[in-house]
Symmetry: C2
Subunit: 450 residues, 2 copies
């Protein structure tokens, strides 16, 4: 029977094994802010570098960019964020809290003991007013408003304002893309659901500039390419779907938006969005900056490219992969929790386990193997406790392979390799382990999870 993966189970495993924990815990936390521990950092690094490898390294047509978090504030005037990037807020005169006017049905007044959603009708609410989601700050020693700046709420605008630079410096012509990863910040009124809605998050965005006539085709291309990427890195097809936004749902400038949704414990929700943004952004920045952001071809043809944007945050991929990989099963009368992560995503690629840690011959051979493997991979050495407990520790963090050095190793120079998913064990010669692991990590992988 399929295991019921609740958000609680994911939060609990993350906390217990040091993937993610509430930020500033010793000071009572910092409302829906999280810090990543060792395995969380390793897993995020894998997600980021696989995205970068797919989007930049393995392509001819996409270059990388890393723009600043605090841009010239005029960027956000032009993009429409200063005027329109806001949520409607109401105050409750009873409990003095503030809530999103468009989410009242799911909220509850702080003074209502029952806290049943929908009791708002009885509450004393103010009219809704717009609350901008950009974090403001002051730059430089001046205290007047001329120094007001914003933390970027998205990385995309940093790409648009560098369009001309890249066009010139990287000698590109449409279709070509600019890719960027980095933190964005949004002053969410109701953050929550673990990492699902947080105030700081790491985006991975790519803006793909195309001739207007080809926009629809490239939009479809990127929806499919991104969907396939999630299948490649192990997400189950049954947990993924493409959902095209209706005309009412779309931003006014978008002529097409598709969400790749994942069946999170909170229900089907956006994992990644792919939008056809048209020429909206380049046109806005042309108007506001006075710099013509267009493409001029060798024959003199000039046009403002359309933009197709696949945009995702590492956090949503991170949660989807934990949920998809999480499994519980009973093996030989013992329950085990196992993260069936794609080997490329798994924070640790292999564990090296001397069966008896205090046996110096075993320890020596195990250490030599450890030193060899960690030049190329993140691997772990563990010699403490029963071997079964050590296996389960590695299962919980999703380590795909474990190499055990035992008595037979001392006799014939072979080690046991244990497969996390099938629990199959086979013996390999010690000097063939590095090559075996290198090949095993490159093989296509599909989860055995039901």
């Amino acid at each position: 029977m399929a295991v019921d993966v609740t958000m609680d189970k994911i939060v609990s495993l993350s906390r217990r094994r040091g993937f993610v924990f509430p930020s500033s815990e010793i000071y009572g936390g910092m409302g829906s802010t999280y810090d990543y521990g060792h395995y969380g950092v390793l897993m995020k690094n894998n997600i980021r570098s696989l995205w970068f490898q797919t989007m930049v390294q393995e392509r001819d047509d996409i270059v990388a960019l890393d723009s600043a978090v605090i841009l010239n504030p005029l960027v956000w005037e032009a993009s429409g964020h200063v005027g329109g990037f806001s949520d409607p807020l109401v105050d409750c005169r009873t409990c003095k809290l503030r809530f999103r006017a468009d989410q009242l049905e799911q909220s509850a007044c702080g003074r209502k003991p029952s806290k049943h959603p929908g009791e708002w009708k009885e509450c004393d609410l103010t009219e809704a007013r717009q609350f901008n989601l950009m974090f403001q700050t002051q730059v430089g020693p001046l205290e007047d408003s001329s120094a007001t700046a914003y933390l970027r709420p998205e990385t995309a605008q940093g790409i648009f304002v560098n369009f001309k630079n890249v066009l010139q410096l990287a000698r590109r012509k449409p279709p070509f893309g600019i890719a960027q990863t980095g933190k964005s910040f949004r002053n969410e009124i109701t953050p929550g659901n673990f990492l699902f809605r947080v105030r700081e998050f790491e985006q991975m965005e790519m803006e793909y500039f195309v001739p207007p006539a080809d926009a629809e085709r490239w939009y479809r291309y990127w929806v499919d390419a991104r969907y396939d990427w999630y299948l490649k890195y192990g997400l189950r097809e049954s947990m993924l779907r493409k959902r095209e936004h209706s005309a009412e749902e779309r931003s006014h400038y978008s002529s097409g938006t598709t969400d790749i949704e994942y069946l999170y414990p909170i229900g089907w929700s956006e994992l990644e969005g792919i939008a056809n943004r048209g020429d909206y952004d380049l046109t806005q920045h042309t108007q506001h900056s006075g710099t013509k952001l267009e493409f001029v071809d060798d024959d003199g043809t000039r046009y403002t490219p359309y933009v197709i944007e696949p945009a995702v945050s590492i956090e949503r991929i991170f949660v989807a992969m934990l949920v998809d990989g999480y499994d519980e099963e009973v093996v030989a009368d013992r329950e085990r929790t196992v993260l069936r992560l794609h080997p490329a995503i798994a924070p640790v690629k292999a564990a090296i386990l001397p069966l008896i840690g205090k046996n110096t011959d075993m320890a020596e051979k195990a250490d030599a193997l450890f030193q060899e493997l960690r030049r190329r991979h993140v691997v772990e050495y563990d010699d403490s406790g029963q071997i079964g407990r050590r296996y389960r520790r590695q299962d919980e963090i999703g380590t795909p392979f474990a190499f055990t050095i035992d008595d037979q190793t001392l006799e014939d120079g072979t080690v046991t390799v244990r497969d996390r998913d099938s629990l199959a064990q086979e013996r390999l010669p010690l000097d063939g382990v590095a090559r075996w692991l290198g090949e095993a990590l490159e093989k296509p992988w599909r989860t055995p999870k039901a």
Copy 2:
């Protein structure tokens, strides 16, 4: 004769080849803020991942962390940043500008036509007052001061407040370390000197927790280890020095601080700092949070570990490596600019160049090689223009190797490999290129620069 590497030359090359350019340029810039182009991103990625590999992956005793940018503001009360992380400021009543009171000798009034430093004596300056360098913002929909928070001015405090988590979750005992990379923000009054002093920068910090009696020894260890790291990745010994701070210069809590300095075009300046911070941070957070941040050994011994901190920003390494690698020379009557970067640091590892781009046989062979190599490395395909011009383009971005596909390739299946530094050329069989490149990139490397 050694080339005179000025900051102007570095800025110009960075701009010209798209490593780094002024941020928000189309809106008139954003005072001393920079965006990184394709090659800049690749080079920064290399620096970050080599640091991570050395500090985390290849060690048993250091784990990774990624804490939030906006922490609970009590963290910065405890650390002393709210009270003391400030510069003294004066206003000039003549020109209405503000300046750092401790840097007046190097500044000039906005109204003085000559702008000679030191003319301040004649100016009408206010008394100095303290200006805090942390960026402030408001979190959540509340507008009162209870919601004031700060952008972290360093990553270190995020490590200290997670000390207990890591101690428990990662099953560690001193000596052990916690490493973190990520952006920090400082509202510098006088940013400048290209990337040398910027308002947002990416830190790489590691806090190493040790028994107090061993602190001095570990402090020396880390000064040497970090110095050797720079030699390993190609910086010249003649451009590096260790400078120990005098007692007056040190922070009050530090019992020892050494800067690894690099001879930048602006003179000897801090590249990386290694400090013995004692038990100051853990003690402060214990007092302010009420959570005891100490280590309790199996035998019941308890103590507050001392902390040794090697701290550096990617930007300073980035500039040092550009300066160290920058070279100009005349080859066959032609001048070339070359970045003699360590191959592990170079943004592009190899260029694949069909001698005649329009020759379909050459193009086909070149493309096959390109597809093979880029699965493992960042490589570039270039078929446009004279071969000499293509070589020089690669020289300027520091690509260590170029593989040229020519007539002879079609006859005997060999390609020419050209070495960026020696300009030596040799022929290799096409099917041996991948292995040759893999090995060449792992060899120790020393700059031939005088």
